[in-house]
């Protein structure tokens, strides 16, 4: 996050962002969690909500991490971490997994972002320069999932902006982000533009606008971003 001391002091920690994303997932949704903060989201979704986690390496119904010593080499998620399965899980190969993704059968892809544009363009697979990153399943997931929830710190460590009029990094997909969760704001992409729904406690609309290139729509004071109840 930025070097601005006010923003820094109010910014949510990764676990809080993951908690906020988890709360946003509709009950019963089929969800793909990307690498990084998105993998934490699963920790905050109660089993009773019927959310199903799908990983592009071929599983629906991935459960929590196995107990130490209980890992099965043949059961991993797309972040290469060992997983368990819940009753009703199914496994399949990559061709079938991406048929599912491309075919619009995944309700929500939760993905880390490097940059997001005013139109919901997503850049998250590489930065300019040689020998960085990889495409992985990001382009397919961004293009194929019904909704893309993007997660990022609102600015770069040096204060550079990441919510931009147009992305400057190589794109992952155009006009796909429906909701953006940062450490200081929750923004929804509407046909009229990015709409500021919630800001971190202690910050104002103006604070968030100051570190966002596109004009943010509002409708009265936004709600407060959730924060861990027992810090």
């Amino acid at each position: 996050m930025t070097s601005d001391p006010k923003l820094e002091s109010c910014a949510l920690k990764p676990a809080d962002i993951a908690r906020r994303v988890a709360a946003e997932l509709p009950d019963g949704a089929v969800v793909n969690l990307g690498i990084g903060i998105p993998t934490l989201v699963g920790n905050y979704v109660d089993a009773g909500r019927g959310v199903m986690f799908m990983a592009e390496n071929g599983i629906i119904g991935a459960g929590p991490k196995p107990e130490p010593g209980e890992e099965d080499k043949d059961y991993i998620n797309a972040s290469r971490e060992p997983i368990t399965t819940l009753p009703g899980a199914s496994v399949f190969g990559h061709a079938d997994a991406f048929a599912m993704i491309r075919g619009g059968h995944i309700d929500i892809a939760v993905m880390g972002a490097l940059q997001v544009s005013a139109q919901g363009d997503l850049a998250n697979w590489t930065v300019p320069g040689v020998g960085k990153g990889g495409i992985g399943g990001a382009m397919d997931l961004a293009a194929g999932a019904r909704e893309v929830y993007a997660i990022m710190t609102h600015t770069m460590k040096d204060g550079g902006l990441k919510l931009l009029e147009e992305c400057t990094y190589p794109l992952t997909a155009r006009r796909v982000v429906t909701k953006l969760f940062t450490d200081i704001a929750f923004i929804e992409f509407t046909p009229d533009g990015p709409f500021l729904r919630e800001v971190a406690e202690g910050l104002t609309i103006e604070d968030v606008q100051a570190v966002s290139e596109p004009a943010l729509l509002t409708n009265g004071p936004p709600g407060a971003l959730m924060r861990e109840e027992t810090p």
């Binding site: 099965d72 991993i76 991406f98 491309r102 399943g137 382009m139």
Partner: protein, 229 residues
Amino acid sequence: MTSDKVYPSSRAAVADIPDGATILLGGFGGAGIPENLLVAMADHPARDLTVVTNHAGFGERGLAVLLRQGKVKKIICSYAFHRSAFVFRELYLEGKIELEQLPQGTMAERIRAAGAGISAFYTPTGVGTQAAEGKETRTINGRDVVLEHPLPGDVAVIKAHRADAMGNLTYRGTAANFNPVMATAAPLTIVEVEEIVAPGVIAPESVHTPSIYVQRVVRGEDLDLRSET
């Protein structure tokens, strides 16, 4: 008649892979990698290989051994610069290996197309990105899409859990990954398995890869081989 598909060793199974072959190599993360076949290929003289695989190696094992020996001319993969692919990165930055990166799902579907006789297909994945550069695009039903072509191999080198002696395969968990689709897309499919059973032991409904896609089966010599993570 068909039990001649069972080979006595990994080395025997890969012995005639020719120079310049395009290899479809299964595996994702540490799961479903034909490690014994890769060890055998490292001992094998074939060079100038093009390897199609999800990621550009994983630590010092498997594909990395081939890379270190300079046997690989080009990697076609979906994720090149994972921190665990340091052997590849070094070669790449030295200009010693070519790279083509594809979206993971497009890679899977292009391999499927090769196996399924689909001459080309339009997909929305990658439109407006580097992945679509230089490719034909059009608008179908109001959506911009890009034309993608089949991606066949000369040899598929894959891992399954179990085979019967006729070459029917089953996979376990997420160790299937690219293995089943790659099995369909090369005229020579070589499979490393953990167990070989008699035909009929695997019920018709339980077969994941039908026997006709498989030419050679070998029981992996060292089943404790594991890539580090």
